[in-house]
């Protein structure tokens, strides 16, 4: 090969790097290892984590311990889905493109909005992406955000808004739900968008349509973050006036993975289609008239439009969106509704059960779907430690992000959390709170 190139050594090829900029030594990293050794090393690191197989997991806060059916792994691990690049050559990417088209159809059905993209990175950054769209659509630079929006979403929006040169105004909660009067007062003629989340971070199902009226009045976009797993039973954002519905896709077909990779979904009204971020698969024909799929509306995207693109996103989360589509097909129309009902009923049971525990009370009385907030009459971190010793991850502590709920705990339910496990949680919480009150050493 060197002879064909016309050099004597590979070093000659690196001669274009000026001498002072050459490292001149191997990187200071450990020597390579055999496959067996790497496996053992990674397995040892994995063993240092208390995962949902070792602890009964009642933690949610945007990512949930759902059962991912076996066919999701079997299909997404196929080379043909795992190893291609983004489908820039549609003739040899029909599988991936059609899967995107099917995924878009499913997300459109779930959210009740006609247009879906093929997925973004994850939930909170999708919120910030919607803000960018809202600025382009309204030529305004002010966002009104409910305090019920996921704290990570609010913080991500703040980060991006520095670049956007936009202002973020927060509206507080009243008994767990977005305060309607405060929201109406905050929305003005400079407001680009109103951001709600339903169920909100405290688990409360928001009255999106009523809250959204303020946005409609000022011609601001109504952007609603939602939990896709609740959309088999809850009224979809598209039927409540949302211009954009988006969210974290992890509950659909994706593992917890300590936070990623998952995907963000992003659906909108027809009016916004040419301002959408990310890939969109579209149907078309080939030269012989066969049905086929391509990346549609690419003129929105960075590789064509460069500085005028609707977003900078390139590599997204196609494989994760495929996992979601397979999970949704496996659940099917009836299964998806049944799962939603199961979540609501088990959550109602858990809320009642936990609310009856001495030293535990409900943080709010608003209706909930799959997650709810409680208050503990004992330090939350100490109670969590005591529950962890009994093999239970009892929930998500609210104190860091909601100092006003320093005694708050968010409890999430999935179809994997049995009645017996919920009962165990009630016992564990009761015992932990009692022990803390009595000053018993852990």
């Amino acid at each position: 090969m060197l002879a064909t190139i016309g050099v004597d050594s590979v070093d000659e090829l690196f001669a274009q790097i000026p001498e002072p900029l050459r490292l001149g030594r191997p990187p200071a990293l450990p020597d390579g290892m055999s496959e067996a050794e790497v496996f053992e090393r990674l397995a040892a690191l994995a063993a240092g984590n208390e995962d949902a197989e070792r602890q009964v997991c009642f933690v949610g806060a945007g990512m949930y311990d759902h059962y991912v059916p076996a066919i999701v792994d079997a299909i997404t691990q196929r080379s043909e889905f795992l190893t291609p690049y983004t489908p820039y050559q549609p003739e040899i990417s029909q599988g991936g493109l059609q899967a995107m088209f099917e995924f878009q159809t499913a997300m459109s059905e779930l959210t009740g909005l006609p247009v879906s993209n093929a997925g973004l990175y994850e939930g909170p950054s999708s919120v910030a992406s919607a803000a960018y769209l809202a600025m382009a659509a309204t030529k305004r630079k002010r966002f009104v955000v409910s305090r019920g929006l996921h704290p990570h979403s609010r913080e991500t929006l703040e980060t991006y808004s520095v670049g956007y040169g936009a202002e973020v105004v927060e509206v507080g909660l009243a008994d767990g739900e977005t305060d309607p009067a405060a929201l109406a007062a905050a929305v003005d003629g400079e407001t680009a968008a109103v951001f709600l989340q339903s169920p909100n971070f405290l688990g409360a199902i928001e009255r999106v349509e009523e809250l959204g009226a303020a946005a409609k009045e000022q011609r601001a976009l109504l952007i609603v973050a939602c939990d896709p797993m609740t959309l088999g039973v809850l009224k979809p954002p598209g039927e409540q006036g949302a211009d954009i519905a988006l969210g974290e896709g992890q509950p659909l077909g994706n593992r917890l993975d300590f936070g990623g990779p998952s995907f963000g979904f992003f659906c909108a009204t027809e009016e916004q289609i040419r301002r959408m971020p990310g890939r969109i698969a579209g149907e078309t024909d080939d030269v012989d008239g066969r049905r086929g799929f391509v990346l549609a509306l690419q003129t929105r995207e960075q590789h064509i439009r460069r500085e005028k693109a609707t977003h900078n996103i390139c590599t997204a989360q196609a494989l994760n969106a495929l996992g979601a589509m397979i999970h949704l097909a496996w659940l099917g129309r009836e299964g998806f509704r049944e799962l939603g009902e199961l979540l609501v009923r088990r959550t109602a049971y858990a809320r009642e059960r936990l609310g009856a525990v001495d030293g535990v009370e409900l943080l709010h009385d608003a209706p909930v779907a799959r997650e709810f907030a409680i208050r503990l009459d004992a330090p939350v971190d100490r109670v969590l430690d005591r529950c962890a010793e009994r093999g239970i991850a009892a929930g998500y502590p609210l104190g860091r992000e909601y100092p006003e709920f320093a005694d708050g705990l968010l409890v999430a339910i999935t179809e994997r959390r049995s009645r017996a496990q919920i009962d165990d949680l009630a016992h564990a919480l009761g015992a932990a709170v009692a022990a803390e009150r009595e000053g018993v050493a852990a």
């Binding site: 090969m1 190139i5 050099v7 690196f14 274009q16 490292l23 191997p26 990187p27 990293l29 450990p30 390579g32 290892m33 790497v38 397995a43 994995a46 240092g48 984590n49 995962d51 997991c57 043909e80 889905f81 291609p84 489908p87 820039y88 003739e91 040899i92 029909q94 059609q98 088209f101 878009q104 159809t105 059905e109 990175y121 994850e122 909170p124 950054s125 979403s153 670049g163 039973v233 917890l256 993975d257 990623g260 890939r279 012989d288 590789h303 460069r306 500085e307 693109a309 996103i313 390139c314 196609a318 949704l328 659940l331 998806f336 799962l339 009923r345 049971y349 209706p367 779907a369 179809e415």
Partner: protein
């Protein structure tokens, strides 16, 4: 060319919704185990949905068949050569999938108390340390989800750095050869793009760079550069470029898309860069998944560190009790979060497994082989018809990729680069990146990677030669290609003019 429909072509595309039949299903759910209270007694009726979403109704065997059929309509890296320039389509070791799927990784909740997630945090810290060494920069944030997310992070860091010094700078310089994500990120971060020209050696045109800086040095926020650049050439003037930008008070951003050329040989930090993003789905073997997931960690210099996103993974020393790992949220100058939780952890597991497998020497050898393969293929394509019709855009040794121009081919044979690309599909190859970078007419950007054999490179060169020979006889063959793919050339204009983006139900 006589057209006989292949069996795959004869099988028309039908979506899963078109295979749906009322009453069919796959999932069996657990029993409720709790009272089956009507939902309207638990949630106000007006907040409930009237009809469930119209998801497909289909049994498991048919779901599996459907997606297996779809998979056969994809070309993939495991099936053949995939020399997409700037995409680094290297082999994806299956070990990495196995370790990422261990329950300790895959079922770990991201909000787990750090003291019960020590293995995950240690892995993240080790990956941070490894990337810092590879990039030659002291600090790393793993949070960005992909290269473009890393770019946005870097520009917001730049903004925060200048603001902290009481400055508001508006301009970001980027070469005309830059990836499209660069200017798109610049706009999202609220800056203005200033294009810098390319010189006859394929590097930054120094006079133009000086002129653009001199217009108003106090407005230069940053220079974004890929090195080696998108022509596959190392910019020999990089030290001087860095000095000019630093003298103007700007930061230097390294687009790490091409890091695969220089791992263990040259480090962006030593070149003078302040911020680097690393595409773990390129150089560090995370599978591309048909368009993600990826991850785009950033490595930064000391002066940028205070502004890194939060939380940051840190190692704490505990007075002789051994180190522990934590998430540091107390970062007062931080730009804040870029996303939820800690980043694409599953990608970190795969990339760390890759780094452990290769080791320091192995990473350096990977880059050597990538450069050797690219130069060999470039030499092979300088022979015969390819050398005549597809000259290399900048005739010097390349790094990990190179760019050919299809201009003579188009002029002499009437064959556009797109035609050549489509004809390659019939030969069982994924085409190179086409029509990029923009400054090369009819560009073909070829990156073979280190995991290809000499035989596969020779096979690709032979296919190009055969297509050019065929076109000398009858250019129409390539102009109508492909013939053997599941569908033939698709009408992309129609898909954009009248977009149909979901299945009507």
């Amino acid at each position: 060319m006589a057209l006989t429909e292949t069996p795959m072509q004869a099988e028309r595309a039908r979506t899963i919704y078109e295979k749906s039949k009322p009453g069919r299903r796959a999932a069996v759910l657990p029993e409720a185990e709790v009272p089956e209270t009507p939902l309207a007694e638990l949630i106000p009726a007006e907040l409930l949905r009237d009809e469930p979403p119209r998801l497909p109704e289909i049994a498991e065997p048919e779901i599996v068949r459907h997606y297996n059929r779809l998979s056969r309509r994809n070309f993939d890296l495991d099936s053949g050569f995939y020399p997409l320039g700037s995409c680094t389509m290297k082999h994806n070791p299956r070990l990495n999938e196995r370790v990422a799927a261990l329950p300790g990784h895959a079922r770990l909740h991201p909000a787990q108390d750090p003291k019960r997630a020590q293995g995950a945090l240690e892995l993240m810290w080790l990956l941070q340390e490894s990337l810092a060494e590879i990039c030659g920069l002291p600090h790393v944030s793993l949070q960005p989800s992909a290269g473009s997310h890393g770019e946005l992070a870097g520009l917001l860091l730049t903004r925060a750095y200048h603001a902290d010094r009481g400055e508001e700078r508006t301009k970001v310089l980027a070469p005309d050869t830059s990836h499209g994500t660069n200017p798109a990120s610049v706009t999202m971060a609220g800056f203005e793009v200033v294009k810098v020209a390319t010189n006859e050696r394929g590097g930054v045109e120094m006079d133009d760079l000086r002129a653009k800086i001199d217009e108003d040095p106090s407005q230069v926020a940053c220079l974004m550069l890929t090195n080696p650049n998108t022509l596959g050439l190392f910019d020999e003037n990089i030290a001087e470029i860095a000095a000019l930008i630093h003298a103007a008070g700007g930061t230097l951003y390294y687009d790490g898309a091409n890091l695969n050329a220089v791992m263990g040989h040259s480090r962006p930090g030593d070149m003078g860069f302040d911020i680097v993003h690393v595409n773990l789905h390129k150089s560090f073997s995370q599978p591309h998944g048909g368009g993600g997931p990826g991850a785009g960690p950033i490595a930064v210099s000391e002066r940028i560190e205070p502004f890194l996103p939060r939380p940051q993974v840190v190692r704490r020393e505990n007075n002789g009790h051994g180190p522990s790992f934590d998430l540091d949220h107390e970062r007062p100058k931080s730009i804040g979060r870029l996303r939820g939780f800690q980043g694409n952890f599953g990608v970190f597991v795969r990339s760390y497994a890759y780094i452990l497998s290769l080791g320091g020497d192995g990473l350096a050898e990977a880059s050597e082989t990538a450069v050797l393969n690219a130069n060999y293929l470039k030499a092979r394509l300088a022979e015969g018809r390819a050398g005549e019709r597809l000259p290399v855009a900048f005739d010097r040794h390349c790094m990990h990729e190179f760019v050919l121009s299809g201009k003579p081919m188009k002029k002499e044979l009437g064959l556009a680069t797109l035609d050549l690309a489509k004809r390659l599909l019939d030969f069982g190859f994924h085409p190179p990146t086409v029509y990029f970078p923009l400054l090369v007419e009819e560009a073909l950007m070829i990156e073979p990677t280190e995991t290809e054999t000499k035989e596969s490179l020779d096979g690709f060169a032979a296919a190009i030669e055969a297509i050019l020979a065929e076109a000398e006889g009858d250019p129409e063959i390539a102009k109508q290609a492909p013939y053997t793919t599941p569908v033939r050339r698709l009408d992309e204009v129609k898909a954009t003019r009248k977009p149909v983006v979901r299945q009507p139900l």
